[in-house]
Amino acid sequence: MSHWIMAPLLLPLLAGMVNLLLVRRGAGPQRLVSLLTTAALLPVSILLLLRAGGGEIVLYQLGDWPAPFGISLVLDRLSAMLLVLTAVLALPALVAATAGEDRRGPNFHVLFPLQLFGINGAFLTGDLFNLFVFFEVMLIASYGLALHGGGRDRVRAGLHYVVLNLIGSSLFLVAIGTLYGIAGTLNMADLAIYTTSAPVEQTTLLRVAALLLLTVFALKAAVLPLHLWLPALYSAGIAPVAALFAIMTKVGVYAILRTFTLILPVTGPGADVAAVLPVVALLTIAAGALGALAARRLTVLIAYLLVVSVGTLLAGISLFTVPGLTAALFYLPHTTLITAGLFLLAALIADRRGAVGDQLQTVAVNPGNLLGGLFFLAAVAVAGMPPLAGFLGKLLLLQAVAPPHAPWLWAVVLVGGLAAIVALSRAGSSLFWRTEGEGVVGTGLPLPLLAATVLLLLLTVALTVWAAPITRYAVATATQLLRPQETVEAVLGREERR
């Protein structure tokens, strides 16, 4: 049995603990530990990606307890892809934080690796209760990171975020309890066997559990009507944290994808979900687009574009077909990286504009041609214009949808994209063009922040250049997800136990 699958969990956990011991030594040693571990996550996750990319489902039994009794870690194509994405995103976010934001509180370098621990754990676990535990690890770290730096706006947005997520956690536990009460197991593969052959009198309870789980994951993913916490929180947090949080909504999306392909398949007890999800996905796109048009600050605008991207992802997922999932899986890395890059870019622009910060109003300060060029590139990428990967992702989505739903989805996705273009052009013109007076004020560009931003933007270009292999991988992942029996066999062995 290969123990490498534990590395994405153990590395950040150890780094968090070591950094806790180093708190009194100042930021220097802590930075070194965080940077080394986060950088080490990248080769480790790529190693796991190569392993899972062949189609093998790698199983790791914690404590060597056999599958339904102990906790299993399961690595398939989807989890491997998301592990790599997390590592690729975490490194620039951390580098950006070393520009100085990490010194605004003593515990940044404790919470940052622990957040990665929670995210990676959520992607790897094959047990529903363990998923809850990793969600909590992720959330507790995120509460601290969101409040990092303090101040009125952060505390206000943070309080809403914490209370909402505690209610969400309660609902999650109720859903878990319902499933355990019916099935007597919480291993995802074992649950999958139970729910596909459940007696008729249990189906109502299973449907209730499915909708409860959808509510919980929709809250994490910021799906309408549970999206209102996101713009306030992400625009209040420091830029590197907002960039890292770009993956947090994707954890919710991942949980929806995993639950309703494996545990409660949409062909069975998840049927209600299949009916609800397309509608809320399109409404989420619409709400996000309206929010983006109404935004008065650049970070709020970006946060609403993140809401749009969640809606777009769910629109693809809600089809539950290979082309639909492929589109979502192709679009996911692009949208995560570009939103993170935009948050960092917004911090650079706000630095240059002094007291006005990222508010979209005309001032006599031009942030400079370099930032203007970067903003143009990022805007083209995030709005899904050709030739970048966002366009390809949306094209895959539009091609994936079958005739009865097609007009709705086409209309909403395209109008949503148009709204994004309008909002971004308005923002861009008030930031860069309608600037009377002399050129640049403020300090020079902080190099780590600039490097991280450029890296994230280049990565979205790279996603476009290597679109063909990524699409092939996405097709393979979607195919694997829609064959849950492969996972069940890999986790529980060939013979059906019941």
């Binding site: 209760f129 909590e136 505390v155 309080l159 914490v162 209370v163 956690s169 536990l173 309890g177 009460g181």
Partner: protein
Amino acid sequence: MEILASLVVAVLFACGAYLVLRARTFPVAIGLALLSYGVNLFLFFTGRLVTGAPPLAGGAAATADPLPQALVLTAIVIGFGMTAFVVALALRARGELGNDHVDGGGEER
């Protein structure tokens, strides 16, 4: 017995939901605590209500399910920690925002 148990959970959830919707942070914190109590009892009851049965598989005819107890233990630890965090955050909000309204009070909203 089952009816009594479900009523207890229902009352805890109802009170918790009511308090969470209040506008001050203190009732919200109490409401979250009540919600987590309700959830813990609910999880505990999913192992079915049995009395005097050993938590062992095999052998005896009636056995108590030990797994929900393990789940509840985890949920209690997390819930307790989070309640403490919410109280601390509410105090911080009181200090930063100048009042204990969940939206930070009336100066601009």
